[in-house]
C-alpha cells in the first residue's frame, strides 16, 4: 500500500496535449474556412 502511495502519478500532459490537438486541428480548419467565407459579407 505504501509503495502505491510513494509512486508519482504518470504525467498525463502529453496525452492531454495530444487529445486537444486531435480535436483542435480540424476545428481550426473549420474556423479558418468560416472566417474566409464570413469576410465576403464585407467584401462581396
Amino acid at each position: 500500500m505504501s509503495n502505491d502511495n510513494s509512486q508519482s502519478p504518470p504525467d498525463r500532459r502529453p496525452l492531454i496535449a495530444f487529445a486537444w490537438l486531435w480535436v483542435g486541428a480540424p476545428l481550426a480548419y473549420g474556423l479558418y474556412e468560416l472566417v474566409r467565407k464570413a469576410t465576403q459579407l464585407f467584401t462581396g
Binding site: 480535436v23 476545428l27 473549420g30 474556412e33 472566417v35 467565407k37 464570413a38 462581396g44
Partner: protein, 430 residues
C-alpha cells in the same frame, strides 16, 4: 474529458452539412430536392427519438458504451450510404444515413452530458457548452471538407460512394478518441458554489417528465429554437430581400458571408452564454435569451431595413442566443433534477428541438410565400413572421418565469440513488 466529448460532437455535427451532398445526389440519382433532403430529415427525427428513448439506457450503461454505439451507428450509416451510392440504391442511403446514422446522432449527442456535469459540478454550463459548441463546429469542418472531397472524387455515384466511405472511416477513427478517453469521476465532486435553483435534489427521468418544470423547460427550449431557426432557415434570401430596394443591396456572395457569420455567432453563443449562466444563474440567462431575443426581433422588424449594421448585429445576437439555449439547457436540468439521470432527461427534452425544427421553417417559409402571393416584397415579406417570433419568445419567457424547484414527492430516495450511482460508476471508473 472535454476533448473526448468534442471528438463525438464535432463528428455528429456533420449532420448540418448534409446539404453539400444534395446537389450531387440529385444529379447522379435523378432525385428531387425533397427526396434528397430525406436522409437529413429522417436523421433529425431519429436523433430526437433515440435521445428520448435511449437516454435511460445511456445513463445505465455509461458514456463509453454510449459513445461506442454512436461511433458504430454514425460510421455504419456512412458505410451503408456508400453501398447505396455505389449500387444506385437510394433507399440504402436513406436507411443508412437517416435511420442508422440518426441513432448515432441521438445517442452521441447525449452521451457526454451527464459525465461532463459530474466532472465540472461548479461549472456545468461551461462544461456542456464546450461539448455542444462542438456540434455547431462539426458543420464548419464537414462543409468545406465534404465539398473538397466531392471535387476530388467527382460528383457521380461512384465519387459520392467514395466520399461516403472516407467519411465513415474517418469519423470512426476520430470518434475513437472519445471512446478511449471518456471516464466518469470515481466520486461525484462536491459543489463548492453556484447559483443553482436547488442543491442536492435528485429526480429520475420517469418522474421528471411528470413535473411541470420539465414541460416549462420544454416550452422554453422549443420557443428559443424556433426563434433562432426563423432567422437561420432563410438567412441568405432574408438579408437580400431586406436591402433589395436600398442604395446598398446585398450580393449573393455577401449573403453567403452573412450565413457564415451567423454560424460563428451560433457556435460562440454556445460556449460564451452557457459559461455566463454559471455566474448569473440559469433562469436569468434564459430571461436574457428570450427577453432580449424578442427585443432584437422587434428592432429588426421596426428598423432592420433602414440600417444594415443594426440588422446584422440583431441577427447575430439572436443566433448566439439560439446556440446558448441549446448549450445551457443540460445545466438548467441539472439544477432542477440533479445529476442522477440528467442525460436521460435531456434526451427526452430534445423532442422540443424536433418540434421546433418543423415549426420554425414552417412559420417563416409559409408566411413569406403567402406575403409574396399578396404582392409584398422586400422586408414586408417577413414582418408577420417576426411578430409571431416575438410572441413565441414571450411565451417562452413566461414559461421560464413559471419554473420553480421540483416538489419533494418527485425526489429519488437517497439510499436507492446511491446504490444506482455506485453500480453505474464502477465499470467506467478504471
Amino acid at each position: 474529458m472535454p476533448p473526448a466529448a468534442l471528438s463525438v460532437h464535432l463528428s455528429i455535427g456533420q449532420a448540418y452539412a448534409w446539404s453539400v451532398f444534395k446537389p450531387p445526389l440529385e444529379s447522379a440519382l435523378g432525385l428531387s430536392g425533397t427526396q434528397s433532403a430525406l436522409p437529413f430529415q429522417l436523421g433529425i427525427v431519429m436523433l430526437g427519438l433515440s435521445a428520448a428513448f435511449g437516454g435511460t439506457l445511456v445513463e445505465r450503461r455509461g458514456p463509453r458504451w454510449a459513445m461506442t454505439v454512436a461511433l458504430v451507428c454514425f460510421s455504419s450509416g456512412f458505410l451503408l450510404s456508400a453501398l447505396g451510392a455505389a449500387t444506385e440504391q437510394y433507399w440504402l442511403i436513406v436507411l443508412g444515413y437517416g435511420f442508422v446514422g440518426g441513432i448515432g446522432l441521438g445517442i452521441g449527442y447525449i452521451s457526454p452530458v451527464s459525465t461532463l456535469i459530474k466532472w465540472f459540478p461548479d461549472r456545468p454550463g461551461m462544461a456542456t457548452g464546450i461539448a455542444i459548441m462542438g456540434f455547431g463546429g462539426g458543420a464548419l469542418i464537414a462543409s468545406p471538407w465534404s465539398a473538397q472531397m466531392l471535387e476530388s472524387f467527382g460528383s457521380d455515384s461512384s465519387g459520392i460512394a467514395l466520399a461516403f466511405l472516407v467519411h465513415g472511416l474517418s469519423y470512426a477513427v476520430f470518434m475513437l478518441l472519445g471512446v478511449v478517453l471518456v471516464r466518469v469521476p470515481r466520486t461525484e465532486k462536491p459543489v463548492a458554489s453556484g447559483p443553482s435553483v436547488v442543491e442536492g435534489v435528485q429526480v429520475s427521468a420517469n418522474s421528471a417528465v411528470r413535473t411541470p418544470q420539465f414541460w416549462c423547460l420544454w416550452v422554453v427550449l422549443c420557443m428559443n429554437v424556433t426563434a433562432g431557426i426563423g432567422i437561420l432557415e432563410k438567412a441568405a434570401p432574408m438579408i437580400t430581400d431586406f436591402f433589395a430596394d436600398t442604395s446598398t443591396p446585398v450580393s449573393v456572395t455577401a449573403a453567403a458571408g452573412f450565413v457564415a457569420l451567423l454560424s460563428a455567432a451560433n457556435m460562440a453563443g454556445r460556449i460564451a452564454w452557457s459559461s455566463t449562466s454559471d455566474l448569473i444563474g440559469r433562469k436569468n440567462i434564459y430571461r436574457v435569451y428570450l427577453g432580449v431575443g424578442a427585443l432584437m426581433y422587434l428592432l429588426i422588424a421596426l428598423f432592420g431595413d433602414s440600417s444594415k449594421p443594426l440588422f446584422i448585429l440583431s441577427a447575430l445576437v439572436i443566433l448566439s442566443f439560439y446556440g446558448g439555449g441549446f448549450a445551457t439547457i443540460p445545466a438548467y436540468l441539472k439544477d432542477l433534477f440533479g445529476t442522477y439521470q440528467v442525460g436521460a432527461i435531456h434526451g427526452r427534452l430534445l423532442t422540443a428541438w424536433s418540434t421546433a425544427g418543423v415549426l420554425g421553417p414552417l412559420i417563416v417559409n409559409w408566411i413569406a410565400d403567402r406575403q409574396e402571393e399578396a404582392g409584398k416584397h422586400g422586408a414586408a415579406l417577413y414582418g408577420l413572421s417576426f411578430t409571431i417570433m416575438i410572441g413565441l419568445l414571450v411565451v417562452g419567457f413566461v414559461a421560464n418565469e413559471l419554473v420553480r424547484p421540483v416538489h419533494p414527492r418527485h425526489h429519488v430516495p437517497a439510499p436507492r440513488q446511491e446504490a444506482v450511482d455506485v453500480e453505474r460508476q464502477q465499470p467506467e471508473s478504471a
